[in-house]
Amino acid sequence: MNLSRIMIILAGLLIPLLLPAQSVVNTVHNLSVSGPGTVKAAGESEICIFCHTPHRSHPQSPLWNRNDPGLNYTLYNSSTTQAAPGQPDGAAILCLSCHDGTIALGEVLSRPSPIPFVNGVTVMPPGNANLSTDLSDDHPVSFHYSATLAAEDGELADPATLTGPVRLENEQLQCTACHDPHRNPFSDFLTVSTLQSELCAYCHQKDYWDNTSHKLSPATWNGAGNDPWFHTPYSTVSDNACENCHRPHSAGGHLRLMNHFPEEDNCLDCHNGNVAAEDIQMQLGKQYTHDVYSRSGVHDPEEPGVVEVRHAECEDCHNPHASRELPAPAPNANGFIEGVRGVNSAGVAVDPIQYQYELCYRCHADSPDKPASPTSRQIEQNNVRLEFDIGNPSYHPIEAAGQNNNVPSLLPPYTEASIIFCSDCHASDGSAAPAGPHGSIYPQILKFQYETADFTVESYQAYRLCYECHDRQTIIFSAGSFGQRVHRQHIVNEDTPCNACHDPHGISSLQGNATNNTHLINFAITIVSPDPASGRLEFEDLGNVRGRCYLTCHGVQHSPEFY
């Protein structure tokens, strides 16, 4: 015996105290009696033993001291993951030998019986650390993260760049890419801080992300309603970044690891006036909406460009990785709908859209099971792409300037060369309402009142939708055939709605023609009937604000009437 042996014994007692602050010794992974957590051994002093043994380890490196759970786990899957996660292996199965909650924490290979824990704890207690054997709500692990995978996905970093704190294990992504079980400088044993989702960005390089307000906004929560950031310590949108919507473990919405299910809850915790300035939730509570509530689990980012099963979720119209406040002149898509898929004027899927109408065409054009037009007309068409085609005899100028180069009622700044958005007519009602067709008190999610019932008493309010652009004064009071002869006679004197004669979207050239269907004329057959003398229900454009009609309306026969 000598002095050095004595020092050994003293050192054995002192070394834990001398270790740097970020040692496993100071973390809850120190399951020994000296550990700082509440889940720990009753008397065992060895720290490493709960995971490692120098001899007779199993099932694998690094010198593992625990049994393989040997279970079949429910794996993560989604339509947008190109990775093929297998049953957990590598480091992941080692982590799961505690974190699936099936094996007693003290059950190690190097001891004949399990090491007793305080309070009688055996397996991992319920809570965030117990992942269970259902990994479908957890970020996938144990998949080959190859350059090929990154290329297929298109929004993943080249794995060759993962040489820093986030690393792969044998080219596999394992728990250890994000977690270092021996050090806990950021909480949750993370290898990189989650502030502004720095950790996520090592692998996930989402298109558009750098400019979106979901990355950049300094908005805070006003404290009302649900805490939108219930699983993070951060208090602004930009600090939460990915975690505004996503959660890498225990995700409420398993697919794509969303905070919540159903889908809209991820958006509306912020877009209810409590974080974002505009209260979209309120708009969605109105009578006529893009109803995000009625369906759940139908939307799929991989569904065809022309939507086959019509539905509305927030993410059908908005790309949360791209959305931002960036105005655009019609017909271009603005920042709110940047980076979303659509269908172009030829009916071909596009990604991303260039024009706003291409977004609307995903569901309102060639999709099956569209509802019938709200007005029954002599020419029926509920494919709005065909209604707005620039080859049509007439159309509202959604894709390009209209056919009619003489529209005397137009209010500035509108001219015959103007192009407008679908959302100029279809939008939430109310002067302060946020842009976009979220919800309205008016049918068809119209921005303003648009009465379509026969015998509606004319007023500015009744047809305000039209009068916003088409000057009421000019339409019903101007001299000559345009004002008094045609419009005043019908709208004011006969209480006939605009909608009785005009089909506001347009008349497809496949059905109408440049003689009978200019000026959006396509009679509502619930109000206008054929002329009994000729059997015709027809408008004829005679040019230069002249025309004639064959019809019967309000008991008055036009056989024909000229103007």
Partner: protein, 207 residues
């Protein structure tokens, strides 16, 4: 020097206490084969050592008197291993000349037809994939590359000097880095220092 004497004095009481608690000698330890029936010499050291005509085929072998293993070992490997691990050499090869189970314990002094083989907990076997790696260079470069190891040239071993000085052999980690074959400290499993609070592990591992 003066300081060392003072410390010696200070802990002289503990020294004696330690002597009572631990056997602190090979005599009576698991490596004491002097009373085995197969050791007809009754000698303590002879199973491993001889003063003359020693086997010098293994580098650094201390006057070796035991048959040396010829096994080809399956080595430890892991995705996070930065060390270059070769076939066991130096003193580790000597340890494995009993503990791999291929060479009889009583194959010493030129005898090769022994019948006593290690079994039970002491049997390491030839598959070292489940064992802590040995016979690799552990230097400042390795520590720097790994990030989870202390620099052996500057880190105190707790045994009086640095890890390199007290626990490595020609710069290599060997079985004897953790185990004291002669049981001079009397710690269970012939450890060179107590593993209470994993102190032995955490001498090298910066975790």
């Amino acid at each position: 020097m003066k300081h060392a004497k003072f410390v010696t004095f200070l802990f002289s009481g503990l020294l004696m206490l330690n002597g009572l608690l631990f056997s602190q000698t090979i005599s009576g330890s698991a490596h004491d084969f002097s009373n085995e029936t197969w050791n007809t010499t009754g000698e303590l050291c002879i199973v491993c050592h001889t003063p003359h005509h020693a086997d010098v085929t293994v580098g650094d072998a201390p006057l070796w008197n035991h048959d040396v293993t010829a096994a080809n070992f399956t080595l430890y490997n892991s995705a996070t291993l930065d060390a270059t691990v070769g076939q066991p050499d130096g003193s580790s090869k000597l340890c494995l000349s009993c503990h791999d189970g291929t060479v009889a314990v009583d194959n010493f002094g030129g005898q090769t037809n022994g019948t006593q083989f290690v079994s039970g907990g002491g049997l390491i076997g030839t598959d070292l994939n489940d064992d802590h790696p040995v016979s690799f260079v552990y230097d400042a470069t390795l520590a720097g590359n790994d990030g989870g190891l202390f620099d052996p040239t500057t880190t105190n071993s707790g045994l009086g000097g640095t890890i390199d000085e007290d626990m490595l052999f020609n710069g290599k980690l060997q079985c004897a880095s953790c185990h004291d074959v002669h049981n001079s400290s009397g710690i269970a499993k012939l450890l060179i220092k107590p593993n209470s609070a994993s102190a032995l592990c955490l001498t090298c591992h910066s975790k």
